[in-house]
Symmetry: C3
């Protein structure tokens, strides 16, 4: 990215109000759609995203072998309910997407209560919430409901109707590749398989879409690849079909849970100290808000696949409150009211700064390595005093001191304690004065 | 060690009551014997151990040059006392082995009290305890007694009788080599030169004997060498005579002070981060009891010799309360009442787990390195829920993630925070499903 | 340095009273001189130091190109004052050297108060202190005065007289090279460009001079180079003219602020873990007084130049309270009353111990690497008991254990926690007994 573009990204915070409203609007439009790992819900979702960004939509036939897995049948659902024998519906998919266990097989039968109970899922600790359950690879059917609803089921038998299809079809995903000067690529990946879940799904989609929309106009050094995929099977499918692109990925982030009120958290890549790990840590450290950085564990989102040993990509996971660590996770309470526009904007801004470091990272060699150069006669001393001028001067001294061809700008930022943007600005000024040359 | 044997060692805790009684019984039988660095006390001790384990007993002649040292004359003692001139004995070796300074020369003389005092040793801070003193390499004689006894000596002269022999003989030690599939060897060493001292001597002997008895029936990968030797001169003698075995030692522990009520402590090898150091640290960390791990210092037990720079063996020292850090150390108060059966059993169990890690350590390469394998269709997902199942699943994910041929199972255990046994079990299950192959 | 010389340095603390008086006397003689980066003040200063030590005085012509810089014109000042129009002087350089902004251009004019104010510098927070200001490279003139003085200026215009010369001349510096057995060199550098500032200037000069006077009689292994130079331009000039010596510098310290009542502080070299960094840290750790060790930053004294990437010399900065961190810094309050003889002596003693480690550092190989040597028959066991004897014995055990040709004595001291002097004494005793040989 060109210096001006980096500076622009870095200053993008100013657009907070507009960005927040745009991301909320997108989330609201996507929320009612019943997504799953296959099916029309994903197609409708990607079609909406395509209004914002140049998205290629891929369709992979059911039964396709992908690494150790097979693309499953496509699942679509039209109607599902539990009704009293008098016809009154007591649980109805029409009222909430989460009422159906994902990938439930079709059924239309009268079922005794005892047997029905074995197919019902509730959250006794949160009796007003509906849980989210899936059964992609084990043949079954089931409903999710509030514990209150469960307690009200007292008839001896109920009619159960699930009008769903599980059939040869496709797995659908979207990819948006912004080509930069180089083929070296930054991967940003989010999952699009959760129905009516807001923080765990829509927040990542909204932030990624907004960033892609913004970057498509920038002159980029790196290529940036945005993936909108069903979790697990989607990343496995993409990896299986794109091995030639895998080797170009220099940095990557899985994006999820970016809209809640918690602080930022970052889960490192398997490598633990990849450039992306150090970059995110640096940006969060200078962000001034509380945050957590945790080591890699082979559990979570699609970083599990990207970081499998045969790929071992430098991909971490950027979140606010992580999966499983907030009460509303995987329940009907993870709804639009959990999203805060300010949180979405803050997450976007952190991503912008991460992008600015990735794009701005470089290595220089001093053309005046012996002794300090006389900055004064080159007009490089800050004109004004104060804290900012002192930092500006220190940044120049650090860059000149460490520009030995072996320290990157990020390493200078880490060692000096100054934010990357200031180090980059100093390097630009010193380059302009002929005191530095880039090292390829 | 085969997987079943490792699992057996790991579950051996169940036999607590029987093991504790057996170790106490052995300690009680050994306690009355007057051991020294040479002489019949060591021979009688080794003869008793031979009833438990296949022990080779070596005799090395006095005067033999061993590294920088020389095997000393053999010392045996029959009788020793201080008597009033009327014949009444006021200090009598027949009543306690510690009354005589080890390697005292023979004497039969009437000695004025003033002169006698220079040959007497007491513990003024513990007036009822007899200290333990030796003078192996400086020609002298002396008695150890309680401070109360010293205060009661008021006659102007006493008769002193020491009926001991210092003569051309042998240094005696025992070794028990359990041959495994490989010549690569685990060394377990304890000293057998202390007379009537329980924690500092007998506890290590009892725990080592019990482990050797147990392992002689196991099918071992490593060979295991148990040494029962006099301190310092014994390890120096063994090292001098077995240089060809030294190069085969991959792991080693000196065992002492394993029966007191304190928590476990481990003193690292000179290398500081040898496999044995990491293994013991891992086992203690997961043991759930308080423990201390301290760096190597060139003072203590026979690790001083094993870790001398010309050998630099990966040998640490496993103890409960270390030498010199409990009040009763090197006194008559380090007697059988200081030993707790539960502590002996706990020490033995820790050693069993250390052995299980040494035997179970291995490196694997994933046969499904790209993306996660589909565990579900292989029946590898835990059937039951709960904490243990979660750990079982995490262990499988960690092993698949790190099985790149560069991480050992111990490294996986360290990184995951899971106990080695669980990682090893996961590796066995995944190997059984054809997902892993061992790396030699 | 020979062992006796090292021991002597280590015991030099005893001369405290004499040394303190001598350093105060030197500071008092130097205080009234108006030094700058060039001019007669530096010449007079160096002439005084030459009475103590063998100092070569170098004169470098104005206009000489030195690295990225040019030696400036020589500045000398005879008279300067601000007077009321009736002739009464209200600010007079004759009363305090700090009243004039260094490198002020000559002027003799009546100046309106409004314009005059733009040339006046005060410290409003310390209204009784005169600040210290320079303008070496920007053409201007100015006065420094107390804020009280400024407030009393109420006339509409004043006469301003500065009788100074800025003309082709020389930059003057002094170097004192004590030749040791080797050309490998220890650099000790202090600045001599501050007029009437005591802690920030004279303390370093006094301590360095005293150490040089002491070392000139010692038989040294290393050569020791003392530089007395104007800050920044002086070190740049020296580096430009002595590139062949630069490659011989193995250790270096910039000395400043060594007389105030604060604890010692050490700023590491750019390398961060150079030998000098570890040596100073070791000495301060065992000094038993509070101290701070801080990372390198490319701001401060002449370490900025020595540590520029083209030289990257292992040069740290030894201070008590660092530049800018005490209120009196760069003001008339940094006067002789800020210096404490005990602090000067303590600083000198710390330097002596650093020198003793630099000179005493060595690597040995054990001639008895297998097992411990029998120290007793060589008479190497301490005769007396107690803490010191225990340390003496532990030092011998550590040296024998780590004398594998790969650990230096400093590394042994660091690992054992014992002071270097004790390790060195043990190595000398063991060498004397034929147990060690030096490794070149």
């Amino acid at each position: 990215m060109m210096p001006e573009a980096i500076a622009r990204l870095d200053a993008a915070d100013l657009s907070e109000g507009r960005d927040g409203a745009a991301m909320m609007e997108l989330a609201e439009e996507l929320y009612p759609i019943c997504r799953s790992i296959t099916g029309d819900g994903v197609r409708r979702t990607l079609a909406i995203l395509r209004r914002y960004i140049p998205l290629e939509i891929e369709e992979v036939p059911s039964g396709t072998a992908v690494l150790d897995w097979t693309v499953p049948p496509e699942w679509n659902i039209r109607e599902a309910y539990i009704a009293r024998l008098d016809g009154a519906r007591v649980v109805d998919f029409a009222l909430h997407n989460l009422h159906i266990v994902q990938y439930s097989h079709p059924i239309d039968a009268v079922v005794p209560l005892d047997e029905l109970r074995r197919h019902l899922h509730t959250l006794p600790d949160h009796p007003e919430w509906i849980p989210y359950r899936t059964s992609y690879y084990k043949e079954t059917w089931g409903f999710c409901l509030t514990h209150r609803q469960l307690e009200s089921l007292t008839d001896s038998a109920y009619r159960v109707v699930i009008d769903a299809s599980l059939s040869q079809g496709h797995l659908t995903y979207g990819q948006c590749l912004l080509r930069g000067e180089s083929e070296r690529t930054v991967l940003l990946s989010c999952h699009v398989c959760h129905p009516s879940l807001a923080n765990d799904n829509l927040s990542g989609i909204a932030v990624a879409t907004m960033l892609a929309r913004e970057l498509q106009d920038a002159r980029l050094l790196h290529s940036v690849l945005f993936l909108f995929i069903p979790g697990t099977i989607g990343s496995i499918t993409w990896l299986a079909r794109n091995e030639e692109m895998v080797g170009r990925i220099d940095h990557g982030l899985v994006l999820s849970c970016l809209g809640d009120s918690g602080g930022m958290s970052y889960k490192r890549s398997r490598r633990g100290n990849a450039a992306v790990d150090r970059i995110v840590a640096h940006v969060l450290q200078h962000d001034g808000t509380p945050h957590r950085i945790t080591p890699f564990v082979p559990y979570g989102y699609d970083e599990r696949q990207y970081c499998s040993p045969g790929f071992d990509l430098p991909v971490g996971c950027l979140m606010r409150t992580p999966n499983g660590q907030y009460a509303e996770y995987h329940s009907s309470a993870d709804n639009l009211s959990l999203l805060r526009p300010a949180s979405l904007v803050h997450s976007l801004n952190v991503l912008r700064r991460i992008a600015a470091v990735i794009e701005g990272e470089a290595t220089y060699r001093s053309l005046n390595p012996k002794g300090e150069p006389q900055l004064g006669r080159r007009g490089l001393y800050p004109a004004l005093g104060g804290r900012s001028a002192a930092d500006e001067q220190m940044a120049m001294l650090w860059v000149m001191n460490l520009a030995d061809g072996r320290h990157t700008l990020l390493e200078m930022a880490e060692r000096s304690g100054l934010p990357f943007a200031r180090i980059r600005a100093a390097a630009d000024a010193l380059s302009g004065a002929g005191l530095l040359e880039p090292v390829s």
